[in-house]
Each structure stands twice: as C-alpha cells, then as structure tokens.
C-alpha cells in the first residue's frame, strides 16, 4: 500500500451526512471554546448561527446531488447505490432526508433567534444550551435520513436526550425541573416502546433495514404477521409520543408550560419534524404494502388527536398549554395526510414545514411577552397587547391565523393539501372530522386575538424585543403569508420529498 493510497479517504459518501457532521462537530467546538476562552455570549450565538448556516449550505449541496441522482441512467446504477445508500445502506441520501434537513435547520435557526434572550440569561451555561440545541438537531436529522431502524433509534435518542436536558436547563426553577423529569420519563417510555417495536419487526421480517424489510415482505406472503403487525403498531405508538399525537400526548402541555420559554418553540418543532420524518420513512419505505393495516390505526390516532387537542385547548388559560394542545391537534392534521401513504408525502412535509415555522414564531412571541427563562404564560399577560406591543401582537395574530388555517396563510394551503390527500385515499370521514376540528380550533386561536386587540390592556410594560427576536418573528410571519399566497414553489419542493 502506497502512502498516497493511505491518505486517500475511502469513498464512503461523507456528503450524505455532511450537515450532521457540521452540527455535531460545531457543538463540540462550542463547548471546547467556551471552556478555554470564555467568549462573549453574542459571539457564541453568532458562531452557532454560522454553524447552522453552514449545515444548511451542505443541505443545499445535497439537494443538488439528489437532483442529479434522480436522473441517473441504468449504467450508473452502481454509482447511484453507492451515493444514495452510503454506510452499508444505513443512511440514505434522498429528497426526503434533504427536506427534513431544510425544515430542521430552518427551525433551529429561527428557534435560536427567537429564544436568544434565554441564552443570554443562562450566563455561563449558554454554551451548553447552544451545544445541546445543535446536538438535538443532529439527532432528529438522522431520523429523517436513516434507512436502518437502529440508526433511527440512535437519532431519536440523541435528539430526545438533548431536549430533556434543554427542558431543565434553567435548573434553579422547579417548574423547569419538573418539566424535564416528566419529559424524560415519558419520553423514555416512548423510546422503549419504539425499540420494542423495532425488535418485533426484526423478529417478524428478519431485518432492520427498511429497504430489506420491504423486499422481504414483498417476496414472502407472510412471515409471522402478528408479530410484525404488533411491531408496526408499537413503532407508530413510539413516534406518536414524539409528535404528541393523542392518546400519547399527555406530556406535551406540561412540558411546553414548564420548560424555559425561549426554547419551547424549538423543542416542540424539532420533535415533530424528527418524529414525522421517521414515521414517514418507516411506514412508506418499509410497509407501503401494509397500508390497509396501518392506515386505519393512523387514521384513528389522527381523529382522536384532532378532536381531543382542539377541544381541550378551548379551556386552557395558559397560552403555552393551549399551544401544546393545539400541537396535539396539528399532529392529528398531519397524520390525516399520512394515511394517504406515499402519495401524501409532499403535503405532509409541506404541513410540517409551515407549521413548525409558525410554532417557533408563536412561542417566540410568548417568550418575548412573558419571559424567555420562565414557565407559564397566562392569557392575562396578553390583554391589550396590540396597544402595548403592536409588533408582537401583529405577528402573533398572523401566526395564530396561520395555525388556524385561514386562507391566505400557509396553514390553509397545508390543511387543504392533507385533506385532499385523505379524501383521495378514501378517508372521507376523517376529512369531515378534520374540518370540524378546525372550526373548534378557531375558538381558542381567536380568544388570544380577542385578548390582544379587543380587551383593555393590563398595566404591564413589555420589554421591547431584541433585534434577533424581531427578525425571526418577522421572518416567520412573512413565510406564513407569502407561502399562503404563493404556495407553488414550496409545494413542488415538498412534493419531491418522497422517500426512496
């Protein structure tokens, strides 16, 4: 072996995990630099933003690569397999993974900007918080890009454990500790359920690679169907926990209420993206032929989530809890698109993308009004906000109307998309449930708007939000409106995002 050969790295397709590498290494560097040089927090924040931006740039490169791959001819097949399925087909480089990264990185950037005041408050622990944020993003991005159930699980754990710690990062407050421990306990149970599902799937199909599973199932009529079906169901349940779908949602409102205000938006959005990305990948790649089996299960969870989330949100007096329950309802809406199978991937991704942006923005407003390092956000704090802080009130209104799914916002297009897919797939009843749930949901979104615009202000000055908060909120509202009017480009982009 010559020296040159030793130096030449083996062709392992680093590009397929380049964004994850950037985030992971970036997180480590931030921690090291913080110990060694004690940099200013502003510099740490800018460095984190730069890391996220770099990862995003790599994701764009990947997108370009995927485009090229999709036009690969037959004689390039070997090349295609090597590039698209590197690391012994543990990882896949496809549009689904890339779109997951886009969404995840956008949410990370927005979440960082919107919750910046929290990191300022954290003092010496700011670097830890930033590193944890990057690590959780790494984990959830792996969930979107792995084709192996073990990798999915690793991604899930990396992401989730970082989030458990973030939930309790303001550890001097008991509410924060409580939220963290609740999240940790329930999240661990969910992980356990998921891994049990993985085990049973392995028992039923003989593989943990999603593509192989699909092949095995397609070739054989039945290999221990009961075990396999239980395995699928348990994996769905595990992911249901992560995306806070009913009846596995009970942690969400508590955690959203207790965790520090600046990070909740990111936590909620990241877990949803990761969970749905993995769910789509597992169900659509490995079990597309079992859609008649898991379809009704998912539809049932969807219906329950929408109805329960919307109705319970009505009686919440805490905006964060309300957004938590509304998140349950939104998980249901997204699952409405999932029941359509592979055909609905684009609509599901579109919904996820626009909703998570709204979610981060909305929690950004909540943090700006009631504090980034505190728990809870009573509706009283929002009374007359339009007079005290017109900018915050206006952006919150746009974001809430977007979540409510009013036309000319991205939320409407998203809802319309998943409803159409569900109807197309024959789930007419689910669409009826969904539209009724959206009407119920109008109540509590409007309630906040009523408080902000139509009620007398309370004597509580709102500290003017910083430039990063303003920018992120403006961006989130702008995305909500622009995508609502011109949904075409994003819809086409998301439409490509079906898993290989």
């Amino acid at each position: 072996m010559t020296f040159a050969q030793v130096l030449t790295p083996p062709s392992v397709g680093w590009i397929a995990i380049a964004p994850e590498i950037v985030l992971g290494v970036g997180a480590a560097l931030i921690l090291l630099f913080d110990v060694q040089y004690k940099p200013k927090r502003t510099h740490l924040g800018l460095a984190t933003a730069a890391i996220v931006a770099t990862a995003f740039a790599f994701a764009i490169v990947q997108y370009d690569r995927v485009q090229t791959l999709s036009q690969a001819t037959a004689d390039q097949a070997a090349d295609f397999v090597a590039t698209a399925f590197p690391f012994d087909a543990m990882i896949v480089l496809d549009a689904n993974a890339v779109f997951g990264r886009f969404a995840m990185l956008l949410v990370t950037g927005l979440g960082l900007a919107a919750g910046w005041r929290l990191f300022e408050r954290l003092g010496a622990r700011a670097a830890e918080g930033l590193a944890l944020m990057l690590l959780s993003a790494t984990g959830f991005m792996f969930m979107a890009s792995s084709t192996h159930l073990m990798m999915v699980f690793l991604g899930l754990e990396v992401g989730s454990i970082a989030l458990y710690v973030l939930a309790g990062i303001t550890r001097e407050r008991t509410e924060s500790d409580e939220a963290a421990i609740k999240y940790f306990l329930l999240g661990s149970v969910a992980s356990a359920v998921f891994i049990y599902g993985v085990a049973l799937t392995y028992a039923g199909s003989g593989s943990m690679n999603l593509l192989e599973i699909q092949g095995v199932l397609a070739r054989n009529i039945f290999t221990r169907p009961a075990v396999l079906l239980i395995g699928i169901a348990l994996m769905v349940v595990g992911m249901g926990f992560k995306v806070s779908a009913a009846p596995f949602h009970s942690w969400a409102p508590d955690v959203y209420q207790g965790a520090p205000g600046g990070i909740v938006g990111y936590m909620a959005a990241a877990a949803k993206i990761g969970g749905f990305a993995a769910l789509i990948r597992i169900l659509f790649t490995a079990f597309p032929d079992f859609i008649s089996t898991w379809g009704p299960l998912v539809a049932g969870i969807a219906a329950l989530s929408m109805l329960l989330g919307s109705t319970v949100a009505l009686v919440q007096d805490d905006i964060r809890r309300m957004l938590g329950y509304s998140g349950v309802a939104h998980a249901g809406f997204i699952l409405t698109g999932v029941v359509a199978g592979g055909a609905g991937t684009g609509e599901v991704w579109f919904y996820l993308g626009v909703y998570t942006v709204q979610l981060v923005g909305a929690f950004g407003v909540v943090a700006a009004v009631t504090g980034a390092a505190t728990s809870g956000a009573g509706i009283d704090a929002f009374r007359g906000l339009s007079k005290r802080a017109p900018f915050l009130a206006a952006t919150f209104t746009v974001l809430l109307l977007g979540m409510a799914g009013l036309p000319l916002t991205s939320g409407f297009v998203a809802k319309f998309g998943v409803f159409t897919e569900a109807w197309q797939a024959g789930y007419e009843w689910l669409v009826i449930v969904a539209v009724l749930a959206s009407v119920i949901a109008f109540f509590f979104y409007l309630r906040v708007i009523v408080a902000m615009y139509m009620e007398e202000p309370v004597d509580e000055a709102v500290a003017p939000p910083g430039i990063s908060v303003r920018a992120s909120l403006a961006l989130a509202s702008l995305i909500t409106i622009v995508i609502g009017i011109v949904p075409g480009p994003l819809l086409s982009l998301a439409g490509e995002a079906s898993p290989l």
């Binding site: 009013l406 409407f412 319309f416 109807w423 669409v431 409007l446 009523v450």
Partner: protein, 510 residues
C-alpha cells in the same frame, strides 16, 4: 382589469398602513380617496359590459399551482356584476360614514379596504379554491371591525359571527375538496374550475350531499332561518360602517353562492331541494318581519328586516324561473342599497342621541326634517313602494315564484305587508307627534356630509325603481343561461310564465 379591481383595494390598504403613525387624521381621507379607484374601474366595467351575453366577461386566467389544478380565474357575468358594483359603491360611503371612529382609525381603514378586496374577489372568482380563499378571508377584517369598533357586547358578537360562518365554511371546504377529488377520479387531474366541474358526472347521492355542504355554508351566510341567530347580534354590535357592509354586501355572498354554485354544480339536487329551500325562505320572510315588528331597538329592527328581505332573494332562487332569478339578482343590489341606507340613518341618529331605542325618540320630524324625509324615502324603498327599487325586486320574485311554487309565493306576499307594518310603525313612533323629550328637542339635522352620504343611495333607489332595465338588461342573459343549465341537466321544466313578467323582462317599461 378584474385583477386590478381586486388588487387596487389591497394595495390601497397597504398604502394606508404605511402612512406615518403620527398623522392619524390622514388615514380616513386617503382611504376614502383611494376607494374611488375601484369605483371608477367597476363603473367602466359596468358600462362596457356586453348585454345579452350569457357567459363570463373580462375573464382572466393564470395558473396558480398546476398539480392541484388551482388557478387565478376571474370573470364577471350578469349575476355578479351588480354585486361588484354594489361593493365599490358602499365602501366609500361606509368610510365616509366613519368619521366618528377616532380610536385606531388607520387600522379601521385598512380592514375596510381589505374587506373590499375580499368581497370583490369572492364575486369574481370562477375557481372554487380561489372563491373559498376570498370567502373565508373576508371574515377576518369583518371580525376585527365588529370586535374592535363595535359597542358593548362586541366581542361576543364578533366571535359568534366568526364561528357561525367558519362552521359553514368547514362544510364548504370539505365539499370543494370532494369535488376536486371526483374530478381527479373522472378526468385524471384535480380541478377547481367552475366550468370544468360543471361537467362532472355525479351520482344523485353525491350531488345531494355536496349540495348540502355548499348549501349550509351559504345558508349561514345569508342567513336562512334557523341559522340566522348570529345576524342580529353582529348587526347591533357592529359600528355603522360594519353594519352597512355586512348587510349590504357580505350577506350577498350567501345568496350569490346559492345561485352561482349550488344551482350550477348540482342542478338535480337543487330541483329536489326546492320545497326545503323555499320553505325556509318563506319562514325567514315571515319570521323576520314579525320579529322586526316587536323590536324595541331600531338597529335590531333593521337587522331582522334583513332576514325577511333576504328570504325573498332565496325564494327567487328557489323559484327556478327566469323572473325569480332576475328578481333575486336585482334584489341583491336593492337590499344592499336600502338596508345600507337604513343602517346609515340609524347610525346618524345614534351618534346624536347615543341610543337606538325607539321609545327614546318621538316627533323627530319636527326637529330633523331632512333626516325624517330621507328615512321615510328609504323605508318606502325597503317596503317596496312602486317606483322605488324594492318593488321591482320583490315583485319579480313573487311573480317568478308563483308559477312554480304558488303556495310559498302566496305566503311570502304577506311579507311585503308586514314590512310596511314594521317600518311605518317604527317611523310613526320615532318621527311623528310632538318632540316631548327634552333631549330630542335640540337635536341638529343632518349636515352636508351626511346628506352627501345618502344622496348616491337615494338616487340609485330611484333610478333602479324607475328604470330597472339598466340592471335587468345586464342580468337577463346570465339568468337565462342558468335556467337553461338547470333544465338541461334535469327533468325539470320551467312553468309557463305569467304575462305580468313581460312588463319587466321585456322592452315595455312602465
């Protein structure tokens, strides 16, 4: 041209929004001035509109998102033309009537202009997706107008208004989704184009369900009895401009939707549903009128009179005859003018006396003769005195519905008498006699601005009453085409029309 008609108010709203916030007094004049641009465009359209052409005119179509089959698809025909004209006329009037709004004036003007854009968009949209977008989007500005600038129980009223309508829209949305999926199954691509969807082959069951889905949405908007309960609350609490636009234009979205979508898309279901719709319409006519008689509150009286008048429009739609359709279309415009004027007048007296209770007034004709005169004139127009616009519409509806649904038509005719009772009795209590209450004695009569507001409306009432041809000519071809559509798609046959109809439909004016 039509795109401009929608975009100009939207752009005007942005312009007003960007006005410096320390020059609050600018918002209203600027908004008012800008609202003349759509008026001019619509005026041009109105006179350029080719009479005798059944199809959509000035059409514009641009692909919005190809895979979903949605497009920016606009067009105007005889059914929508009058409503567009009505919207652009009422908006400047509503703005000019809002000089008393001092709190957050800028936002008020912005919301009003956005409302205009949404309303015009709804009337022009020929793509169901686009229509739904506008139909639902108009809720937001109106919700804020009621909720921020309304009176004491405004929040309750705004919420009720929003939820009722949104509830109806949910069914509309599900039905539109269903239609596009059916189109996809039959033709291989989804579509929301009204003309393309008309060629769908629906089973009777499908078309009945979808008819119901569309119907509920529009019935709530109209509102058809028993879904009307949100209307009196919304009207009573809304500021004057809000009431004017709500009654004048927004409710017409419902009657327009029934005519445009329910009849075109589901003709057989529509024919089958005639007894139900006509029945509810007649109940609305009588119920609204009877309840209006006993209202102690002037504004509530006008609100209930709306329920009654709108019943006539629905009845004309259900009549499935040429005269009925014509009556419905023209009554849409008439009701917007007269009820809008009545709400303006109630608003003017409220600004002076800060009460709307009929019993607080008395003998106002002595202190405010101009006001009394205008009120009486408008009341006559609303009752349907021959020579004024209300007569043309309600008379056409009645003679149109008599051949096809005689029983309903006969009962509905009593609505006209009841209208005379509640309006004239209210007039008597408010205006006649001697002004015995001291607060009423020093009331000032209308000023030049207020008279200026009423003049265009009064002139239009007179013009449409004496020379309805100006509107009927433009609507005739479209309503005929709609009737043909219903006849061709079903076994329904239009009954022989009475000769009286020729008086209005033909050349021979009175």
């Amino acid at each position: 041209m039509l795109t401009a008609l929608i975009l100009v108010p939207a752009v005007a709203a942005v312009v007003v929004m960007l006005l410096p916030s320390d020059r609050k007094e600018l918002a209203l004049p600027v908004g008012f001035a800008l609202s003349f641009v759509p008026l001019a465009i619509a005026g041009y359209l109105f006179f350029e509109f080719e009479t005798g052409v059944a199809g959509y005119q000035f059409t514009q179509k641009a692909v919005w998102y190809e895979p979903w089959g949605i497009s920016w698809n606009l067009g105007v025909d005889g059914i929508s033309l009058g409503l567009v004209a009505l919207s652009v006329i009422l908006i400047p009037i509503a703005l000019a009537a809002s000089t008393t709004i001092t709190d957050r004036t800028k936002e008020f003007v912005v919301f009003t202009l956005l409302l205009e854009a949404g309303l015009i968009g709804s009337f022009l949209a020929l793509d169901l997706f686009l229509f739904f977008v506008f139909f639902e989007a108009v809720l937001v500005p109106m919700y804020f107008i009621i909720g921020i600038w309304g009176s004491e129980r405004r929040i309750y009223a705004a919420m009720k208004f929003f939820i009722f309508t949104a509830f109806g829209s949910a069914f509309l949305l599900a039905s539109i989704v269903a239609l596009s999926v059916f189109h996809n199954r039959q033709f291989g691509s989804p579509s929301f184009d009204l003309l393309e969807l008309m060629s769908l082959d629906l089973t009777l069951d499908q078309s009945r369900w979808l008819f119901a889905g569309f119907g509920i949405a529009f019935a709530i908007k109209v509102p058809v009895f028993p879904l009307h309960t949100w209307l009196p609350d919304a009207h009573v609490q809304a500021p004057t401009a809000g009431s004017v636009l709500l009654a004048g234009v927004m409710l017409k979205l419902g009657t327009y939707g029934l005519l445009r979508f329910n009849l075109n898309l589901f003709p057989q279901a529509a024919v089958d549903a005639v007894p139900i719709i006509a029945g509810l319409a007649v109940i609305g006519i009588i119920y609204g009128a009877v309840v209006a008689i006993v209202q102690p509150d002037l504004k509530k009286l006008v609100a209930y009179s709306s329920v009654s008048h709108l019943g006539f429009i629905v009845l004309g739609t259900a009549a499935l005859t040429s005269a009925g359709f014509q009556g419905a279309v023209i009554q849409n415009v008439n009701h917007g003018l007269t009820t809008g004027a009545l709400f303006l007048l109630v608003g003017m007296i409220y600004e002076r006396r800060h009460t709307k209770k009929i019993e607080d007034f008395g003998g106002l004709a002595k202190v405010m003769p101009i006001f009394a005169g205008l009120f009486l004139f408008t009341a006559f127009a609303s009752i349907g005195l021959p020579g004024l616009n209300g007569f043309v519409g309600e008379f056409l509806v009645l003679i149109g519905s008599f051949p096809s649904i005689p029983v309903f038509a006969t009962i509905a005719a009593f609505g006209v008498i009841l209208a005379a009772i509640y309006l004239l009795w209210a007039y008597e209590r408010v205006f006649t006699g001697i002004p015995d209450k001291p607060e009423n004695q020093k009331l000032t009569d209308l000023n030049a601005r207020e008279i200026g507001l009423m003049v265009p409306l009064v002139v239009l009432m007179l013009v449409l009453g004496l020379y309805p041809k100006i509107l009927l000519d433009r609507t005739a071809a479209s309503t005929e085409a709609l009737l043909d559509r219903v006849e061709q798609a079903t076994t329904y046959e239009v009954p022989e029309q009475g000769r009286l109809a020729d008086v209005f439909a033909g050349e021979g004016d009175e």
